[in-house]
């Protein structure tokens, strides 16, 4: 089976890889590029643990083919930190104890960042609906929502 050569941009850096035609972007990220921060919780787009940003759009990496990344830009959890500085969302998740086991955390952070880029001042309800595609089984979402709203407030002040 011949593989497909893909040239793409991941977290701002040029990347290339070979993949099978049926391989998902999630498999490519995790198994070929070593970017295991994106998690597979379901493989069917129901849990959001593999949330990444593809050309600015929030997607489940398990529902995108690796080959579709050709010529596009991909943002993953590994690209969220600038140098040593945590993104405000990452910091607020820690301060609010918004994670217990942490398996859903990368997906929530990627999704929440996409929310705040569109809606810098979300209501609680907007945050809850935007994040409804990300499953968390530990926290009951309370502290996650608080962390997102608090990060949004801090980011607005910084502007």
């Amino acid at each position: 089976m011949s593989r497909i050569h893909v040239t793409t941009t991941i977290n701002g850096e040029a990347a290339e890889f070979l993949c099978d035609a049926g391989e998902t972007l999630l498999d490519v990220l995790r198994d070929r590029l070593g970017l295991t921060g994106s998690k597979e919780g379901c493989g069917t787009g129901d849990c959001g643990a593999c949330s990444v940003v593809l050309d600015g759009r929030l997607v489940c990496a398990c529902l995108v083919l690796g080959a579709e990344a050709e010529g596009r830009t991909v943002g993953t959890i590994e690209g969220m930190t600038t140098g040593e500085a945590l993104h405000p969302l990452q910091r607020k998740f820690l301060e609010h104890a918004a994670l217990q086991c942490g398996i859903c955390t990368p997906g929530f952070l990627v999704a929440a960042k996409a929310l705040l880029e569109r809606t810098p001042d979300p209501t609680e309800e907007e945050a809850r609906y935007w994040l409804a595609g990300n499953l968390c089984r530990c926290t009951g979402y309370d502290k996650i929502i608080r962390a997102v709203l608090d990060a949004a407030a801090e980011m607005r002040e910084a502007h």
Partner: protein, 748 residues
């Protein structure tokens, strides 16, 4: 061993604060390595072939075509495992990991392959030919108890089961005291109701995963996500017929467990594949496999009879509980029967539990196993009685609440407990008196859980520069490394940031029980405190030698050794770092350790309050407001205690409103995915308010009680009570999904 019989009345400096967790950065940056995040050179991919039939005799398995496929390095069936495992429970675990004579449920593993890629492994699975003889099946608990029901096993029932019952009845449990008939005779009103709950899955977001490497020298290494890597070691060693010391298990970060990762599914298979292939083998379950073949909890069918006097006093309580725990004995009906009436001080109480097998996956523990369904039944009945008699449901519970000195429904006499305190807090809380609108209803319910201790090891090492490392053996699911670091820092009198806690592999410490039973903050905390005390004694000894005074003339205060009094001489205090710096010169490295079977875990109680709104057109239920009142003994890290309260409540809400295993007539699971098995999402919920009470547990030096499990016990009944009031019809079958609620409203 209970270390301190009395909890110290002390002011804490670190315990009770909310520092950042030590594994936090890794978890918000994607660096933390979970079960599926590890790989090894030359690694193969392992996959499992699963039975599509709910009940079938396996006549033959032909693996020759799969074995000869290019890229396939090993195929494993039951024939590869030892023919006999002495311990019956372990034999069941092996049979569940790889079917023997029969496939007992849809999804039961029958063979496995290891190949160079997932694609090759998937193709190879299709080449394995299994000849099945289909057998009649049963998936419903009440149907399975009929004498003519298809039987899964022969002669497995224990001596408690009366003759003539279905072969699917495995055990009978009875608890209680007094004379219930005499109690019912005193009642002004006796209510009898039957309740049902469906099986729910723990729903951890991380599927099971492991990486096994079996060497030709008979030594093996295993990386896996589990609630207890020592349990994995011991179980796999027994199943594979190897010595425990030759298998080293390292726990990955764990992406949720809730009891579901207290046993093994893939691990022995991965080890066997690796042994046969001579290469590392990684196995990762898909979500459908998690639903079909790992442990959901039991479904239940419960009859309750409660007698109440006009003033709200419960005169007698009886419950008969039937739990199916899947294809093997061991449903948590014993725990359900023990906990059903535990919150109440009853003169006459009796529960009878039946453990039943069906053609469903082997149940695994799920957060307070067995208790939520029992509490749903009893708390619903109490609520209905209170309503009928025109009494306040909180007052009725207060009137009957178990207190210090109450003989518990399961036998012992309670020491100091916090149920009454949670009820009083609930009654005084603004939530209780807030107005409700049309189609809205408020529900309350109480819950109880035992909490455990068990085998625990902690090794605390002082580094040369005066920082401290704590090694413990219990996977951290919800921030327990932070709690251990806090307790060590508190005890040593040093800043939290100076302590780092890690989870050591099975080669580094002695036996540790699983992270379950809400035991970790209690038992590992107790061992951490004792290890720190041992290190302090050693440091005092070093200071005594330096000062040339008696050891008992040195005390440890505020992070430093100090002369005990004026008679000990004038010596400036020596800090931990100063003593550490000269450790080499004063006797060598300094450490403290503790190995203990921790006893003295304190029971815990909670009261939950919830407001719901019912849409009479669609049958949808909205949670408007939710408040948890629970006794934590002492909240070491209050943010993570709140998190346990909130998470348990929301899992309970899912159980009450949406989640259920749905089997078709064909015995196959119809909703093996998160789309059709719907766990609560952020938009389903309000904030979950919490009130932490602290009634110290006398069995822990800081008063800690386990908090993880109790929080899932009350919500099933609290939600059902609220919905029943909102809809004006009593709901006795969970989940209260829209079709079920609409039907109930229609039948009103």
């Amino acid at each position: 061993m209970a270390l301190d019989s009395k909890t110290e009345a002390r002011k804490f400096k670190i315990v009770g604060t909310r520092p950042l967790r030590p594994d936090g950065i890794d978890k918000v940056t994607g660096r933390a390595r979970f079960g599926a995040d590890m790989s090894a050179p030359g690694m193969l991919v392992g996959l499992i072939l699963r039975s599509p039939h709910p009940h079938a005799r396996i006549r033959s398995i032909d693996t020759t075509r799969a074995e000869s496929m290019e890229g396939v390095h090993a195929v494993v069936t039951r024939a590869d495992f030892p023919a006999f495992v002495e311990d019956e429970a372990l034999a069941d675990v092996l049979d569940n990991c790889m079917a023997g004579e029969k496939a007992l449920y849809d999804g039961h593993a029958v063979a496995a392959v290891a190949a160079t890629s997932g694609a090759v492994a998937r193709a190879a699975l299709k080449l394995i030919e299994v000849e099945y003889e289909l057998l009649a099946h049963v998936t419903d608990v009440d149907e399975a108890m009929r004498p003519d029901a298809p039987a899964l096993h022969e002669d497995r029932a224990d001596e408690t089961v009366p003759a003539g019952m279905s072969d699917n009845v495995m055990a009978r449990h009875e608890f209680g005291h007094g004379d219930i008939d005499a109690g019912f005779a005193k009642a002004d009103r006796v209510l009898e109701r039957s309740y049902r709950t469906e099986a729910t899955h723990q729903g951890y977001i991380e599927p099971h995963a492991c990486l096994a490497t079996f060497g030709s020298d008979g030594q093996a290494d295993l990386w896996c996500c589990t609630q207890g890597h020592y349990m994995v070691r011991n179980t796999c060693a027994a199943i594979l017929g190897m010595e425990q010391g030759r298998l080293r298990v390292t726990a990955s970060e764990i992406g949720g467990g809730f009891g579901g990762k207290t046993t093994v599914f893939l691990e022995p298979v991965a080890l066997m594949l690796s042994k046969k292939a001579g290469r590392p083998v990684k196995m990762v379950m898909g979500r459908a496999e998690v639903f079909r073949a790992t442990g959901p909890t039991a479904s239940s069918s419960i009859d309750v009879r409660i007698g109440m006097a006009k003033d709200g006093r419960i005169t007698a309580g009886f419950a008969e509980l039937r739990y199916q725990g899947g294809a093997y004995p061991g449903s948590p009906v014993d725990m359900g029967s023990m906990s059903a009436f535990a919150p109440y001080d009853l003169e006459h109480v009796k529960t009878v539990g039946w453990d039943v097998v069906t053609n469903r996956p082997k149940q695994a523990a799920y957060r307070a196993p067995g208790a939520p369904m029992a509490a749903f039944a009893v708390e619903s009945a109490i609520d209905e009685l209170a309503r009928e008699l025109g009494l306040d449901p909180l007052e009725v519970r207060l009137k009957n609440a178990a207190r210090e000195g109450t003989r518990a429904s399961y036998g012992p006499t309670f020491p100091a407990i916090g149920l009454e305190a949670t009820l009083r807090k609930a009654k005084d809380h603004p939530h209780w008196s807030a107005p409700l609108g049309p189609n809205q209803g408020r529900g309350v319910a109480c819950g109880f859980w035992f909490n455990f201790g068990g085998d625990t090891c902690v090794s605390l090492n002082i580094t040369p520069d005066g920082t401290v490392t704590v090694s413990e053996g219990n996977p951290d699911i919800g921030g327990s490394r932070a709690s251990m670091s806090m307790m060590a820092a508190e005890e040593l009198g040093i800043p939290y940031e100076k302590v780092r806690t890690i989870i050591a592999d099975t080669g580094a410490l002695g036996q540790n029980d699983v992270t379950d039973g809400s035991r970790v903050t209690f038992a590992v905390g107790l061992a951490t405190i004792e290890a720190a005390r041992a290190a302090k004694r050693e440091m005092c000894k070093r200071a005594a030698r330096i000062w040339e005074i008696e050891e008992d003339a040195v005390v440890w205060e505020d992070g430093a050794a100090r002369p005990a009094g004026p008679n000990a001489g004038k010596h400036p205090p020596m800090s931990l770092a100063e003593i550490a710096a000269v450790a080499t010169n004063t006797g060598g490295p300094i450490a403290g350790h503790c190995e203990v079977n921790a006893e003295g875990a304190g029971v815990s109680f909670a009261t939950h309050m919830v407001d719901t709104e019912v849409d009479p057109e669609t049958g949808a239920v909205k949670i408007l407001r939710y408040t948890v009142f629970q006794d934590a003994g002492k909240a070491v890290h209050p943010a993570y205690v709140e998190g346990q309260f909130q998470g348990g409540a929301v899992q309970g809400i899912g159980w009450a409103l949406n989640e259920e295993y749905i089997y078709g007539e064909d015995g196959r699971l119809q909703n093996a995915g998160f789309l059709d098995y719907r766990i609560p999402v952020a938009s389903d919920l309000p904030m979950i308010d919490t009130v932490i009470l602290e009634i110290p547990n006398p069995g822990h030096p800081y008063g800690v009680r386990g908090v993880g499990e109790t929080s899932i016990v009350p919500p099933l009944a609290a939600v059902a009570n609220a919905v029943s009031h909102a809809a004006g019809v009593r709901l006795t079958h969970l989940p209260i999904s829209p079709p079920r609620l609409l039907a109930a409203i229609g039948a009103k």
